[in-house]
């Protein structure tokens, strides 16, 4: 577990002292975070790092989770998907049972705090049991295209909060409460981002079967159409006509028919081309992803819809230029011509990759700029400052 002083080694000058000064204004206050679980989500990963640090800073910080039966989880998943724009939403009966189950959760949990942050949709209806304190709904996804009927049902709970927080402006749907923006961040000491020795990288890549005898293009991301892995293969093929490169596609795949079909197609491509490596990894394969990003010559994130995927920030922290789609949080992370390029097409991705490979002096220059950009804008110290500022503002 990292302590706040550890971040002095990696954060910008004065950043840690700044957080300490901010924390003085929240010391003695009780902060509670509630999530739907302790694993898997980006929110949970961030809380694993920030909750102990906030406690170390003298802020009484707790983290609770809600739970229920299989129907509860199924409705919560359907609700979350519908808020992200899925075609099918949860049934009225399912939502009623979900709310009932959260009423039970509310009776079991100690919800006494000055500031209660409820993350994502699963625990959101706990707000109906609110008593003291200021309540904040933390939405970590893009709700701007939420199913209208689901949003109408969900909004009866969301509007009971004192405020909502989104990762990016434009991710919100209509609410009657103030809506703040706090972008996510990466933890440089997490397994996914911590320094690895050259030997560790070689060993991990050996274990994954990725040779390092030619420039390596890497895309990390779920095997889903939103992340366009087939488009990445097409871009690689355009590049391959001029440069002898290798492509590694690594990520998770759920068991939906579309994802399985996509993965099958990618495996066929990899069978026919030894320079295409397809790696289906478990969600907890942070060390492997870390090594792949560090071994990459160029990191790709050619997503068509990317919410606030922090892949570019992780890669830039490792000193890699990023060629990414112009969507969601990707466009916020990549500074065109400085830390990489944002592209709108397969051809655009191939053009930028070739440009970097033909001008190799740009690769370390952009990599260094990317690391500085992340140090300033996407490290956990910046998010801690934002979180504390939010608490100060709401508890005034």
């Amino acid at each position: 577990m990292s302590r706040i002083d550890d971040y002095r080694r990696v954060a910008g000058p004065g950043a840690v002292d700044f957080v300490l000064r901010l924390a003085e204004q929240v010391q003695g206050r009780r902060v509670l975070h509630v999530t739907g679980g302790r694993l898997g989500s980006g929110a949970a990963e961030t809380l694993r790092a920030t909750v102990p640090i906030l406690a170390e800073l003298g802020i009484d910080t707790r983290w609770e989770t809600t739970g229920g039966d299989a129907g509860y989880y199924a409705t919560a998943r359907a609700l979350q998907a519908a808020l992200e724009g899925a075609e099918r939403g949860p049934s009225e009966e399912g939502l009623a049972r979900w709310a009932d189950m959260n009423r039970l959760n509310g009776k079991k949990l100690d919800l006494g705090a000055d500031l209660i942050s409820v993350h994502d949709s699963q625990p959101a209806s706990l707000v109906s049991a609110r008593n003291d304190g200021r309540w904040v709904w933390r939405c970590h996804v893009d709700c701007s295209g939420a199913r209208a009927d689901t949003w109408t049902s969900f909004r009866q709970f969301a509007d009971q909060f004192d405020a909502a927080v989104f990762p990016l402006t434009g991710f919100e749907s209509r609410l009657d409460i103030p809506m703040f923006v706090v972008p996510p961040s990466i933890d440089p000491f997490a397994e996914r981002n911590r320094d690895l020795t050259p030997r560790e990288i070689t060993e991990i890549l050996g274990g994954l079967g990725v040779a390092r005898d030619k420039p390596l293009l890497v895309q990390i991301g779920p095997f889903a159409r939103a992340h366009d892995p087939l488009g990445v293969v097409d871009a690689y093929r355009l590049v391959k006509q001029h440069h002898d490169v290798r492509l590694a596609l690594a990520g998770t795949a759920d068991d939906g028919p579309e994802q399985l079909e996509l993965l099958t197609r990618l495996r066929e491509i990899a069978r026919d081309d030894p320079d295409v490596v397809v790696l289906e990894l478990p969600a907890e394969a942070h060390r492997q992803i870390n090594a792949l990003q560090r071994a990459a010559t160029i990191v790709l994130q050619k997503s068509l819809r990317a919410w606030f995927d922090l892949g570019p920030a992780e890669a830039m922290w490792k000193g890699k230029p990023v060629v990414g789609g112009y969507t969601g949080g990707l466009a916020q992370q990549i500074i065109p011509n400085v830390t990489g390029y944002t592209v709108h097409s397969i051809e655009g991705a191939a053009f930028r990759i070739r440009h970097l490979l033909n001008n190799p002096e740009l690769i370390p220059r952009m990599g260094a700029a990317g690391r500085e950009h992340v140090r300033r804008s996407f490290l956990i110290t910046r998010q801690l400052a934002d979180e504390l500022a939010l608490a100060i503002h709401l508890l005034r």
Partner: protein, 220 residues
Amino acid sequence: MRTAAHPLRFAGCVELRQTLDVHAHDERELMSRIAEVPADSVYFHTFGYFLRHHPLTTAYGNDFARWAALEIGDRALAERLAVVDPFAFPRLDALRDHLVAILGDHLQRHAVGGRLEFDRAFHFQRSHIVEVPLGLGAATLAEFRAGLARVDESAIYLHTVETRVRARRAEAFPTWLRDGLGMPELAERFERVDPYLTTLERVRGRLLGFVDEALEDGRG
């Protein structure tokens, strides 16, 4: 050595952003929305730009010009908006009127392009500035120099940009130099520093240069 009537307390700041659920999908909507949004939002997208702009980012001068360049792809409009120096306007409403006039004039000469998708629209925001006392004070010019050299970059923004336009607990550097330390000439030099199209670190460098000259001349 002069000692100030009251010490300067250095403070930094965090900009807590609030999205207003007000959006513009083309130039015409941008013009109408700029005319309607709260003054705080006009401030956020113009003066507030200086807190977010840093050496790695491309200088567009304000968020409206950046959007016109990157999303609308209208370079002429982007240039006309970029050249608007917010410090040249005595009040936010005058700045707002000028931006609306530029857009109105541009729309008379050029057809509006297609409407953008929501994710590329201009999303209006405002901010809440949370001040952060940094535990550093200065009662003399030498102490002021030491603090100025080491404070967080956001303190340069708070004491030079934010306090110039909006009332804050933090004291503007020129106010303290004039009223606290009795150095009106140095205060005037500070007031003439133009943060437009530069970075806060460069502003810090210029201010330090003025203080060093004053110290060398024995005026401190």
